[in-house]
Symmetry: D4
Subunit: 146 residues, 8 copies
């Protein structure tokens, strides 16, 4: 069975590449989707729509352009993997988890044990908590095996 998997969350490490190459090595029939992960491009996604004097509206326009992509990606996925790192607020990752939960879209979280407590509501609605990208690949292998 083929799966479409959306990779959501943290953009500062290469976890997406690890999962993609792990899946490829196992020969899995998976299409991966992702937000734009280049921080500067993402923050500037709405800049070509006209300059803003207020940072609120500049952020607002970029966030909405990104949301076109994100919303379509989540809705066309069979599974979402959401990565939380230790730095930054990452409220967009938690926002996407809530979005999945309300849609009944299965998601799994990927994070270290030191942030279990603040993520308890996010983990409570997840189908699994993984600590390593290897574990994620293992899940993908299992759910797609014929």
């Amino acid at each position: 069975m083929g799966f479409t998997v959306y990779l959501s969350g943290e953009i500062h490490t290469d976890w997406r590449d690890q999962i993609r190459s792990g899946a490829e090595q196992c020969g899995l029939d998976i299409t991966f989707l992702s937000a734009v992960t280049d921080h500067d491009s993402s923050g500037a996604a709405g800049d070509h729509l006209g300059e803003e004097s207020s940072s609120f509206w500049r952020d607002h326009k970029s966030a909405k352009v990104n949301a076109i992509r994100t919303k379509t990606s989540i809705e066309s996925s069979d599974l979402v993997v959401i990565r939380f790192g230790e730095k930054y607020k990452q409220w967009n990752a938690a926002f996407e988890a809530g979005y999945c939960a309300a849609l009944g879209k299965p998601y799994i979280t990927l994070h270290g044990p030191e942030i279990i407590h603040p993520l308890k509501e996010v983990d409570a609605a997840a189908m699994a908590w993984a600590e390593s990208t290897d574990q994620v690949v293992e899940i993908l292998k299992y759910v797609t095996k014929s």
Copy 2:
């Protein structure tokens, strides 16, 4: 027109009381709902279901008991107000924002200007951003006036 409003997010300041009393002073016909805001009760919500040796499962059980209440509250509300403070991860607040967004449930955010940037995705799907509880009460007055 009567409204049901769910107050979500930060539990360390008295912003809920400010909104409730502001609405009462204006004589608004609003029913307010809220998660349990006592931090210790909330964290222990699942403890009576049996002890756990792992903190992950203890948190997990409590988070799910809380989610029964939260989910019902969000779904029966006409509007959700989500407060972000400056401290803590508050991923549950962002999670509830995403949940609202996917349901098409209108929400407004309440936070200071210093966290505009990390909240840009959350604000992008909101109906308004307020900085003070007075502004929230003003919105409630407007949307319920006959």
Copy 3:
């Protein structure tokens, strides 16, 4: 059978009052909902959230505060009456008609014969076209009679 009816559209004539008083004279069990129909209040609905230098964002904020009220009103109605006058663009009225159509919420239009042609798509999805408020009251009498 009681009905909730949302009165949408043109705000420059007293058509809402005519329908309300017609229904009252017939003793109908109807709750009427409406957007804020005072043009200045409506345009300023977001002003207390902070000044904007750009008229786009000022309008944007007010439109969103109004949308909280509008969305809740439409979704809690059994029937929507949408009035189109001859002046102004009234794109918000057509927008609300499309919103109803997608939800499967029954609506009727109220307009003169001179704007039949530009309203053809809006009328095509309506349950009735009325030219006078008396006709609207007649429909309300019929659909609620015991």
Copy 4:
């Protein structure tokens, strides 16, 4: 990621062609859908179903035949671009915006700054406001880039 984009609204200028050829020049993987944009064909879409003595019913029949196409197009799209010109009522364009909003289908508007005010409710529910077809192509490039 491939996208399906429905081009809605004004039919008197060549904005659809500009977007299509812009996307083609950038090599984007996009399927474009559109209503029938020939004004006479569109107005006569129901004529073969029998003559009508009243212009209301002639318009009604054509509008419904067009709606078969429109509804299917909107529902199978990932994104809708809605163009408003300065002439004509264009209530069908605003109607389609409302339809998208109720479905949670992302849309962007394309219009000049002189009609910001009457479009404020339509823009409030949009993911972006563009003034030029180049800006639209830029958004399409961003949301589909791998």
Copy 5:
């Protein structure tokens, strides 16, 4: 448990009154809804909206006014009872059965054994087939008993 029951279909016998009075005699907590069952009123429901030269459009307008009432009634019911007699086409009754089936709204049919065969698709999606109004009352008693 209180129930709302919509009585759909045949209008030439007093089956609705039999069910209503049977329920009353048993003291059941049931609200009954119904289309307008006076054949002439129902056929003329749209006449006040203006005369039509074609019988198709006269019927069309009345049918849509009736549909406002019918749709709201079905959607607010917990159970629908659909009566088929031996005379007339009664396509509206079968139409309402299909409407219920698609919504997942439980319905029961009420008809004699001589029309089992043509009603097989309608009965296949029903929760019960009753031959008498007494049997219907028996079901209502059972499903609402405390």
Copy 6:
């Protein structure tokens, strides 16, 4: 734009073939779906599941096996064409019309003018009424033209 069209209703004349061959002659990109139109096969669709002494249950089992096919066909179509002849009850055709109406699935009816009155509720929710298969093909040509 490709369309999937489900052909529902009367099985005693060759209207399905006329539409199929008309569409083929016009080179339309349409996939046609249909119930099993052989009357005997359709009535016996459940017979292999075991004999029944009662004709009600024999019909019941066959109707449900047919419904598996019908439901999937309707839900995967973009448009449904529903044919009513002058003979027989054809309650299944009206049932499928109601099913479409509740799903918001566009349908058109195909019938002669002598049954306008009993079909008024079914026509009221249709996107068009056609009297001939040529008219249906014309609509298909229009809604799929590039």
Copy 7:
């Protein structure tokens, strides 16, 4: 906050009464719903609709009459409590758990530790697992406290 709670499953012990009286002693604002729990009445729920020679169809008719009540009860509840005993197949209890899961309706299970393994899929989608009715009452107290 008031809650409606549906009590599903095992009918041979007095667990429903224990929860009802526990909630009453705590003064909770809860409406309890339940299937008919008298085994003989439940099995005979369709008998008045006519005798059947086959036990399959007798069961079938009764099960469907019961389903009218069950479906309405589940859909109008905020929370479902599902009790599994050690005896009997209790497939209806597991069926109702699956029904809740697909609707996104929160449910909690009530069963002893000796049937953890066969219930693992049912528990995996539950919001909590309770072993005693006291624990259930504790949860109800928590989720409804003001």
Copy 8:
């Protein structure tokens, strides 16, 4: 017409292979999906996510990983076949039947006559009851024939 069929339930006999090979011999255009049917793999599906001291949580984790696969399979199927054997609790099979029922996903049951009574609620919502895999293949042949 091609169909996707999910094979749910009992894993101790070769009924899946019988259906698959029967469909193949008839040349049917069917894609079959299934849970992982190796009992040990299935029970260990979450083991690589870390050891658990409690059997409840070990089961819980595996059941959730399996649910990712199951949920996607059910939702992408046109028809579900659910097999109940005579041994074991098989609550997951009844759970999946309830899940289908709530989604309006057609399913058929496959079981012997000796378990008619405990399966009556499950059968009441099914489209057919088959006793042999040959009967299932017969249904698949019928619903997909061109």
